[in-house]
């Protein structure tokens, strides 16, 4: 039995399937969307960075938000793991420490969606050598 009987079927199908490859499409131009880097070194993983990363991936998917979640090495804030760095398009990156799932939710709802700052920001204490 044919699965696609009308053009609408195809469109519905496309919308459902889109999430399967959105990861790849978003990866093509990450600058245009919210990027989250999760520090995934031994200290981060031990404090639950994996769960936090999974939480972000699932939550963005549930809410249909376009974002790129990647992992990175130790950022050096081992006292405040799990740490994440959030970069909104055209803005400076912000680093959040001691991120729990509740905190992650707050970051999504308040900072990413509304642009409000939330507690837990680790101030810039370094400069990157280009």
């Amino acid at each position: 039995m044919a699965k696609v009987k009308t053009l609408d079927d195809l469109r519905k199908m496309k919308d459902q399937l889109k999430s399967k490859i959105s990861l790849r499409e978003n990866g093509e131009n990450p600058e245009s969307m919210v990027q989250i880097k999760v520090s995934m070194s031994t200290c981060g993983i031990a404090s639950g960075a994996k769960e936090i990363m999974g939480f972000f991936v699932d939550e963005f998917d549930n809410q249909g938000l376009d974002a790129v979640v990647t992992q990175t090495g130790c950022m050096g804030y081992c006292y405040a793991e799990p740490t994440i760095e959030v970069t909104k398009p055209g803005e400076k990156p912000l680093v959040f420490g001691n991120v729990t799932t509740d905190k992650a939710m707050e970051i999504i709802e308040k900072y990413i969606k509304e642009g409000e700052l939330v507690d837990g920001i680790i101030p810039d204490s370094y400069e990157t050598i280009e």
């Binding site: 053009l7 990861l23 990866g27 995934m40 990647t70």
Partner: protein, 403 residues
């Protein structure tokens, strides 16, 4: 089940497979399993990335890390370092021959920088054996749009306006060819896809068929709708086993989904595709010879006219298009005839494949705008080959077939 947080794209083109690409996939899967990541990281076999000289190519997304010359033995290190610890494996990154720096994102490589891809849009991006991924990339939407919202003449007008020309070598305006075949009156017509690709060293058609077979099937159906044909035939050389296998898979999936077969999109339009094998005779890439070969006759060209558009396969009007030509059809319908216009040139504006085989350090598939003046193209290629520190710098650009 949680969502995959990363994809590992492994090139599944003939070149990379010959360099043990399949083993890389198996080893990556085993390593992921070992590290408990098999539910978080998906390994995907894609089509050709184009940078064949650096194969096998493995790309990690979403962070777009492009690993080159990967060996199956590297799989566990890639998983342990990149996926578990989040560190890039420096030694497998592309080494920029000019600056001697490792580049991780393919966007910044000289090889890809100036390219512009339409026919190769899905190659190295989707799994060619999965119709779902093609549909997610707007696959079959052009066919739907044509069948439901457009008259055949309007579609032909659009193709004409795009300036698309036959990519097999003749350069005949595609829209005009479709129009001529449409005007021929007959009870039966045929759409033929020429996948004979006999030029020595050429592999652009093979890369499309291996990397994005559905784009060809979709375009054949659109062509069938425009000219009034219900049967498509793909003439492909038997030396392309992987392309044949992926085409067969694609045809089965398309039939299963109902985008090939009877009453497509409920419009009453019927179209199906069959594969015909060639024995690999160079001359059978010429359309009249190709048609004779399909008829079971000796593969010899005959004098035109009559053109295949009037009397072709089994003496019925037949529209023969090259693989690469067909791969350009869907984007033109979806994005408009202007989608391919990147320059102010009036004719043949769409980008053109440049297979770059042979003894160079940069060989692979590249795409540049077709209307690029020769001198400019030469300069770009010279720059690319110089940057590659090739022992054989670019001295000449051959615009004919290699034969």
């Amino acid at each position: 089940m949680g969502k995959f947080k990363s994809h590992i794209l492994v090139c599944g083109g003939t070149g990379c497979r010959a360099s043990r690409g399949e083993e890389i996939v198996e080893n990556l899967q085993a390593a992921l399993q070992e590290n408990g990541l098999h539910k978080e990281v998906q390994v995907v076999r894609t089509g050709c990335f184009g940078f064949c000289e650096k194969g096998p190519v493995v790309k990690m997304v979403p962070d777009n890390t492009f690993y080159v010359h990967v060996e199956p033995e590297d799989a566990s290190e890639l998983v342990l370092e990149h996926m578990v610890k989040g560190r890039k494996v420096e030694r497998l990154l592309y080494l920029d021959p000019e600056t001697k720096e490792r580049i991780s994102d393919s966007k910044h490589m000289g090889f890809y920088k100036k390219q512009y891809r339409i026919a190769l849009r899905n190659c190295g991006f989707i799994n060619p054996e999965n119709i779902d991924e093609y549909i997610a990339r707007d696959g079959y939407a052009a066919l739907g749009k044509a069948l439901v919202d457009m008259q055949p003449d309007a579609v032909i007008q659009m193709i004409k306006a795009s300036g698309l020309r036959g990519r097999g070598g003749g350069g005949f305006p595609t829209g005009l060819k479709w129009e001529l075949t449409r005007k021929s009156v007959a009870d039966q017509k045929y759409v033929v896809c020429n996948a004979d690709e006999g030029d020595p060293g050429a592999f652009m058609d093979r890369s499309i068929l291996e990397g994005d077979p559905h784009s060809v099937l979709e375009a054949m159906a659109i062509c069938g709708y425009c000219i009034g044909a219900d049967t498509g035939l793909i003439y492909i050389r038997a030396e392309y086993p992987l392309a044949i296998q992926r085409l067969k898979t694609a045809i089965d999936q398309a039939r299963d989904y109902g985008v090939l077969g009877n009453d497509i999109f409920g419009t009453g339009f019927n179209f199906d595709v069959e594969i015909r094998y060639g024995a690999g005779a160079f001359v059978c890439g010429e359309e009249t010879a190709l048609i004779h070969s399909m008829e079971g006759l000796r593969g010899e060209p005959t004098v035109k006219p009559p053109f295949p558009a009037e009397r072709g396969y089994k003496d019925k009007p037949t529209n023969v298009n090259n693989v690469e030509t067909l791969a350009n059809i869907a984007p033109i319908l979806l994005k408009g005839s202007e989608c391919s216009v990147r320059s102010v040139m009036k004719r043949a504006k769409e980008p053109r494949f440049l297979p770059w085989p042979g003894r160079s350090t940069m060989w692979g598939l590249l795409r540049y705008p077709w209307a690029l003046p020769c001198a400019k193209l030469f300069l770009i290629l010279a720059e690319v080959s110089k940057a590659a520190k090739s022992s054989r710098p670019c001295r000449r650009v051959d615009l004919r077939g290699a034969a």
